[in-house]
C-alpha cells in the first residue's frame, strides 16, 4: 500500500508492503544507497539513519511505523550543522578505510553530539559500541567525533 514518508526534508510516496524496513525503501525504492545493508538484524549499525533526530537501525523496523516522523539519511545529514562538522572532521582525519560502515558511524555520532557537546572517550565508546567497523577505524572515529564537537562548540561561541 502507499506510504508517504519525509526523507531528508522531502515527502516521498512509495507503494510497498508495510513490513518492509525503511532500509530497503531507501535503497531500492528511493535509490538512496548511503545507508548500508550489513547484518539485517540490528547488530552492525551500517544501516543507521535518524528518525525524528534519533539514530535507529533502519533494517529493523517496519516502514509502517515511520508515520509522520522525519527521516534523515547520510545523504541529508549535511543540512544539520553537527552533521556537516562530522563530515568535515571525517575528511580532515581521513577516517574511512573501506568505508562501508562509515555512513552509519556518522549518523550515530550525530545523534551523540546532538545531546553531548563535550563527549568523553567513555561517552563515545558507549554511544558507538553498536556500530562495528571491520577495518577497525575506531581510534580515528573517536578523534573525528572530538574534532567535530570542538568545531561545533567554537561556532556556537
Amino acid at each position: 500500500m502507499p506510504y508517504t514518508i519525509q526523507v531528508n526534508g522531502v515527502k516521498r510516496t512509495v507503494d510497498v508492503d508495510g513490513d518492509m524496513p525503511p532500509l530497503w525503501v531507501l535503497r531500492d525504492e528511493l535509490d538512496l544507497k548511503g545507508a548500508k545493508f550489513g547484518c539485517g538484524i540490528g547488530l552492525c549499525g551500517a544501516c543507521t539513519v535518524h528518525v525524528d533526530g534519533t539514530a535507529v537501525r533502519s533494517c529493523s523496523l517496519p516502514v509502517s511505523r515511520i508515520g509522520s516522523s522525519t527521516v534523515v539519511t547520510i545523504e541529508g545529514i549535511a543540512a544539520d550543522p553537527v552533521g556537516r562538522k562530522l563530515q568535515a572532521a571525517w575528511l580532515a582525519i581521513d577516517v574511512p578505510q573501506c568505508g562501508y560502515c562509515q555512513a552509519g558511524q556518522i549518523m550515530q555520532a550525530a545523534d551523540l553530539l546532538s545531546s553531548t557537546a563535550r563527549p568523553t572517550d567513555a561517552d563515545i565508546d558507549s554511544a558507538m559500541m553498536g556500530n562495528v567497523c571491520r577495518c577497525c577505524s575506531y581510534t580515528r572515529i573517536r578523534a573525528a567525533i572530538k574534532k567535530a564537537a570542538l568545531m561545533h562548540r567554537a561556532e556556537a561561541e
Binding site: D31, K36, E75, L86, L91, P96, G99, Q102, R134
Partner: protein
C-alpha cells in the same frame, strides 16, 4: 595462510616472468597497451597508456588496478604513477580499473604484496608517460628532449623559456611510440612530491556523503533481485524444494533449483554450490520468500564435520610427528630432556579458533545480461569478495 603465501609467491614470479617473456619490455610492455580501456561515456581523447588519460584541461585520470578493501590501495597505486608522471595530485582523478589482468597485470588483494609487486612497475608507467609528453613538446619546439624537464603538469625548455601544459601535449604524445619502460628515467626519491606524503583516501568525499560507491550500490535499468539459498554444509546438493509454493509468494518473479554441482563435480568446498534461487521485484521480497523455503538437502560428505571434530583431529595430529617442518632450530627433545626437573619443563597447548574473514558487506553481484554478461561485484581475487 600458507596457501595464500604460496599463491602470492607464485604470482609474483609469474608477474615478472610474463614481463620478461614480453621481449625485454619487462612487465611494462604488457602493462602499456595503447588505447587499452574505454569506459562508457569516456571523453574522446586518447589515453597515454592503459593507466593514464590526460584531458585537454590538464585533469589526469589514473586507473587504479587493485581491489580496494580498506587498505588504501586505490589511492596509493595512482600516487606512484602521478609522482613519476609529474602532476599535481589535486589534478588527479582516480578510477577503479575493471578486472582485466592482461591489461593491468595481476589484480588481487591478499598477502600485502601490492606495493612490492607494483611500486617500480607503476613508477615506470608514470615515467613512460612523462617521457612521451616531453618528447611531444620537444618535437613541437624542434629541440632535444634532453634539454627539457618537467614541473608538475608542464614540460619546460629552460634554454628558451618555453613551457607547455600536459593537457595541450597529451593528444600528440598519445600518438608517439611507447618508450621502453626499462630505459625511462626515474626521479631521485629526494625529489618526490607525492610519494611519502599523507594523502587522504580518494573515495572519502563519496563515503561521508553516502554517494554510490560499493558493489551493492550498483543499479541497472529494470533490474530484479535474487537471493540464493545454499546448503548449510559445504558441497551439499538439493534433493527437492517447495518451488511451486515459493513462486506464489508476494513479489516473486521466479524460483528455481540451481544444480551447480553437476557442472562442478567432486567435493571441492570452494566450488560452485547447489542451491535455490528466488527472484523478486526487490531484494527484501526475495528474502522474505526465503523464509517460506523448505529444501530437502543431501548434505554430502562433509555433513559429519564439526568444530569438535576438528579440535579432536588437531589434538590427535599434534601427538604425531609433524608432516613437514617450516623451520627447525636445535632439537626440542634434547633441550627438554636437559631440564632436570619435569615440573620446570614448559608445556602449553595453543589453539586457534576457526574464524571467517568476513566483511560487513554481504556477498553480492549485479549482472547485466546482453550478448555477454557484465558483472559488477567486489572482488579480492577472482574467487573472493572485497569492495
Amino acid at each position: 595462510m600458507n596457501a595464500m603465501t604460496r599463491e602470492c609467491g607464485r604470482s609474483r614470479r609469474a608477474f615478472l616472468k610474463a614481463g620478461v617473456a614480453a621481449g625485454g619490455g619487462l612487465v611494462l610492455h604488457a602493462m602499456l597497451p595503447r588505447f587499452a580501456y574505454a569506459a562508457p561515456n569516456e571523453p574522446a581523447y586518447p589515453p597515454l597508456n592503459a593507466f593514464i588519460r590526460i584531458a585537454p584541461d590538464g585533469i589526469v585520470n589514473i586507473m587504479s588496478k587493485n581491489p580496494e578493501i580498506g587498505q588504501g590501495i586505490k589511492t596509493m597505486l595512482p600516487m606512484v604513477i602521478a609522482e613519476e608522471l609529474d602532476v599535481a595530485w589535486s589534478n588527479v582523478r582516480v578510477e577503479q580499473a575493471p578486472l582485466d589482468p592482461a591489461k593491468f597485470g595481476r589484480q588481487f588483494a591478499g598477502g600485502s604484496m601490492a606495493t612490492p609487486l607494483n611500486y617500480e612497475p607503476l613508477r615506470r608507467v608514470g615515467a613512460a608517460g612523462r617521457l612521451m609528453l616531453i618528447t611531444a613538446a620537444a618535437q613541437e619546439w624542434a629541440v632535444e628532449p634532453s634539454e627539457c624537464r618537467t614541473e608538475p603538469g608542464f614540460v619546460l625548455h629552460p634554454a628558451s623559456g618555453r613551457s607547455a601544459a600536459y593537457g595541450t601535449l597529451a593528444s600528440k604524445a598519445a600518438r608517439l611510440p611507447v618508450p621502453d619502460p626499462k630505459r625511462v628515467p626515474l626521479k631521485d626519491p629526494k625529489d618526490f612530491r607525492i610519494i611519502g606524503k599523507p594523502i587522504p583516501g580518494v573515495d572519502n568525499p563519496k563515503i561521508v556523503t553516502g554517494q554510490k560507491l560499493f558493489g551493492i550500490d550498483v543499479t541497472m535499468p529494470g533490474m530484479v533481485y535474487a537471493v540464493f539459498q545454499k546448503c548449510p554444509v559445504f558441497g551439499g546438493t538439493v534433493n527437492s524444494a517447495n518451488i511451486d509454493q515459493i513462486k506464489k509468494q508476494p513479489g516473486v518473479i521466479d524460483a528455481f533449483i540451481v544444480r551447480a554441482r553437476d557442472a562442478n563435480p567432486g567435493s571441492d568446498p570452494q566450488g560452485a554450490s547447489d542451491g535455490v534461487a528466488i527472484v523478486a521485484k526487490n531484494w527484501w521480497l526475495a528474502d522474505r520468500a526465503r523464509e517460506k523455503l523448505q529444501v530437502s538437502w543431501d548434505e554430502g560428505p562433509f555433513a559429519t564435520q564439526s568444530s569438535d571434530g576438528f579440535a579432536k583431529e588437531a589434538a590427535r595430529l599434534a601427538q604425531e610427528n609433524p608432516a613437514s617442518y617450516l623451520r627447525r632450530d636445535g632439537d626440542v627433545a634434547i633441550a627438554l630432556a636437559r631440564i632436570s626437573h619435569s615440573s620446570r619443563r614448559p608445556s602449553a597447548v595453543l589453539q586457534f579458533l576457526e574464524s571467517l574473514q568476513v566483511l560487513t558487506s554481504p556477498r553480492h553481484v549485479t549482472g547485466w545480461m546482453g550478448r555477454k554478461t557484465d558483472c559488477f561485484l567486489p572482488l579480492l581475487h577472482r574467487t573472493a569478495v572485497g569492495r
